[in-house]
């Protein structure tokens, strides 16, 4: 068996500490704090999704919010139908309240023919359909988009422009389809998810454990995925695409695969977010939210899954505690802006990079002829 170097042992230790910390947190937090932490952990999952596509695949997706939003909407549709208000709209079957507000007078109070698009809601009466779609739809869309982008050999900034346009496009469509999506207001007043006898109330410990265990599993699985052969090939593609191509690898397939995995994680995070926050709205697909995710990853360390995840949790925790003082809310945005500029300029590998070089220095002192070579951030491709 291959002996683990002291560096990867330290890495494993960091992962373990983080996972243990989030699992024992309920012992120290009351309901409200727990709900808030759960929300930040969902952002942490998003951070992992961004790091996977940006740090490992070199794909700067400025539309990650699309997948997050789709996942959120899918499960929110199911939960909307299971809410008490949907059952009290004068029909024996559940009907979302907002659909009736603008319904044609005299139209039948049934999902089949309330308005032109309401039939789309029919399968969402089963909560498992919503949950399934929350995973399948983002992944499927990512596969299609990825196939087009990577087969066409679209690279670099153009991927960012396409993903950015796509998320804004879908956002507008959702806002415009007011009769079936409730437009700007999004889906609110949702029911709670119940699996068997376990009810995932947003303030319950069960929901927290669902989120934190999901995060731990995603973190570990994503990490293992990057260490498989496919993960190695992916990083090689990031560093020099042509060379990998000449070595005979099907470059687009690897890129599509990881693009879809990243979308799947983001979609799953969207679903968890709905459980914790009890709403889904078009703001999930705002450009600024998608870029904010990138900020978390950049500050935490784009090339480190744990770093990006911790970055997301950390930034949001600080933001939440600062936001309690009203005058500091706007000042906090200044700090975020400044932090971002400084991180990009002086800490391109983020906090994780800082920690790594600190550890390297410690190891060097102990073992001056160590063989660990400091990994450096690959030079990003210059403008083509």
């Amino acid at each position: 068996m291959k002996r683990l170097s002291s560096k990867s042992l330290i890495d494993i230790a960091f992962y373990a500490i983080f996972i243990i910390a989030i699992l024992v947190a309920p012992r120290f937090l009351e309901e409200f704090g727990l709900n808030r932490l759960a929300k930040f952990l969902v952002y942490g999952i998003l951070g992992i999704a961004v790091a996977l596509s940006w740090g490992y695949a070199g794909i700067l997706n400025l539309g990650q919010g699309l997948f997050f939003g789709l996942g959120a909407y899918m499960i929110a549709m199911s939960l909307k139908l299971s809410s008490a208000t949907s059952l009290q709209q004068g029909s024996d079957k559940p009907v979302p309240d907002f659909m009736l507000w603008n319904a044609e007078p005299g139209s039948k109070t049934d999902l089949c023919c309330l308005n032109a698009g309401s039939f789309l809601w029919i399968p969402f009466q089963h909560q498992w359909f919503g949950i399934l779609m929350g995973i399948v739809l983002p992944t499927l869309i990512a596969l299609v988009v990825g196939l087009v982008i990577f087969r066409k050999k679209i690279a670099g900034v153009f991927i960012s422009v396409i993903t950015l346009s796509l998320v804004l496009l879908v956002r507008l469509l959702i806002i415009d389809a007011q009769p079936i999506t409730n437009g700007w207001n999004g889906l609110t007043d949702l029911g709670t998810l119940a699996v068997g006898s376990v009810v995932f109330d947003p303030f319950s410990v069960e929901t927290y454990y669902l989120v934190s265990i999901s995060l731990a599993l995603i973190l570990i699985l994503a990490r293992l995925l990057t260490q498989t052969r496919a993960g190695m090939v992916l990083q090689a593609i990031r560093d020099d695409q042509n060379r990998v191509l000449y070595l005979g690898f099907d470059v687009p397939m690897y890129q599509v695969f990881f693009f879809a995995v990243s979308a799947l994680i983001a979609g799953y995070a969207g679903m968890l977010y709905v459980l914790v926050a009890e709403f889904a709205s078009p703001t999930f697909m705002d450009l600024s939210f998608s870029i904010t995710m990138v900020v978390w990853a950049a500050v935490g360390g784009r090339a480190s899954l744990l770093g990006a995840c911790v970055g997301a949790v950390l930034i949001n925790s600080i933001e939440a505690s600062v936001s309690e003082t009203k005058s500091l809310v706007e000042a906090w945005k200044v700090i975020i802006g400044l932090l971002f500029v400084l991180a990009v300029l002086y800490l391109p590998r983020g906090l994780a990079g800082l920690v790594h070089s600190g550890i390297d220095r410690l190891l060097e002192r102990r073992n001056p002829y160590g063989t660990d070579v400091e990994s450096t951030l690959p030079e990003e491709q210059a403008a083509e």
Binding site: V157, I162, A331, V334
Partner: protein, 298 residues
């Protein structure tokens, strides 16, 4: 019909002013300036401030805004962008941070609002600019009633575009910029001071955005977040037109402006925006190098 075309043209003109700046900075320097939209915002605020503090009308605000935003561009180039040449993705992120900083600077009145001090014309609220009397009202062309402020926008855009074309194609600095667009390393080897030319290019591009901001302030409310959608639109124009191609930017701003205006007239504003995004995605997929691309830099 004609008035729809004119609305499309005036929307397209502002888009063009924003996009021209982006096209030369992106073309020449490979920098994606996400703070470009904030230059539009600052141009608009310059107009507001000029009216309040200097009692200057919208006409005088044009050179003033150009100067202010160009200076700001110069500073951004010197302290941030210059450090990031060759790291294309990172310029996008760093300038996004700058964009937030600029918005907050306006919203918090340079931080003075913390001390209870307020500057008239700044702050988080909405601002308005009064358009001088001779630009209000309509002009009748044929059977159509055309808003004269829209004509003014189109005229200013034509002047600025011609100026840009003249600088790029008839002056020695423009020749240097074009050389850098083609091949920055070779240009440097030929003795062009690439860093200095880049700084000036960036300042000029920012200045154009400032002028676009003045134009916008005349028919839209002015507020700290107004620039963000502009940079997205401007960038879409550049990508559709083909990077580094002035003609491409002009044509694609025209096309996108018309698509937006026409769909909005037939359907609604939201769908019009959606159609524009769809159009851009299709363009990149079918012709990644842009509709009117420029051979070079490859």
């Amino acid at each position: 019909m004609l008035d729809t075309i004119f609305i499309g043209l005036s929307v397209g003109s502002i888009l063009l002013l924003v996009a021209l700046g982006l096209a030369i900075t992106y073309g020449a320097m490979g920098v994606i300036n996400m703070a470009h939209g904030e230059m539009v915002m600052i141009g608009a605020y310059t107009t507001v401030m000029a009216a309040i503090w200097l009692h200057l009308g919208i006409i005088w605000a044009i050179p003033l805004a150009f100067f202010v935003t160009a200076l700001l561009g110069l500073l951004i180039e010197k302290f941030v962008v210059r450090q990031l040449y060759g790291r294309l993705m990172d310029t996008l992120l760093a300038t996004w941070g700058i964009a937030i900083l600029l918005q907050q600077a306006v919203r918090l009145e340079f931080g003075l609002s913390f001390f209870g001090l307020h500057i008239a014309g700044l702050g988080p609220g909405l601002q308005n600019v009064t358009v001088p009397a001779f630009l209000q009202g309509t002009v009748t062309i044929g059977t159509a009633q055309i808003n004269s402020y829209r004509l003014f926008i189109i005229a200013v855009t034509i002047v600025m575009t011609l100026l840009t074309w003249f600088i790029m194609h008839r002056t020695s600095i423009g020749m240097k910029v074009r050389a850098i667009i083609r091949n920055p390393k070779m240009a440097a080897a030929c003795g062009i001071d690439v860093q200095r030319v880049n700084a000036l290019t960036f300042a000029f591009g920012s200045g154009l955005a400032g002028v676009a901001g003045v134009m916008m302030s005349g028919f839209k409310t002015v507020f700290p977040d107004m620039g963000t959608p502009m940079v997205v639109d401007g960038f879409l124009v550049v990508v559709v037109g083909g990077v580094g191609s002035l003609v491409g930017s002009i044509l694609s701003a025209g096309i996108l402006g018309q698509v937006d205006g026409a769909v909005a007239a037939v359907w609604n504003d939201v769908i019009a925006r959606a159609v524009v995004f769809g159009f851009v995605i299709l363009t990149i997929v079918i012709k990644p190098e842009g509709l009117f691309s420029y051979k070079g830099r490859r």
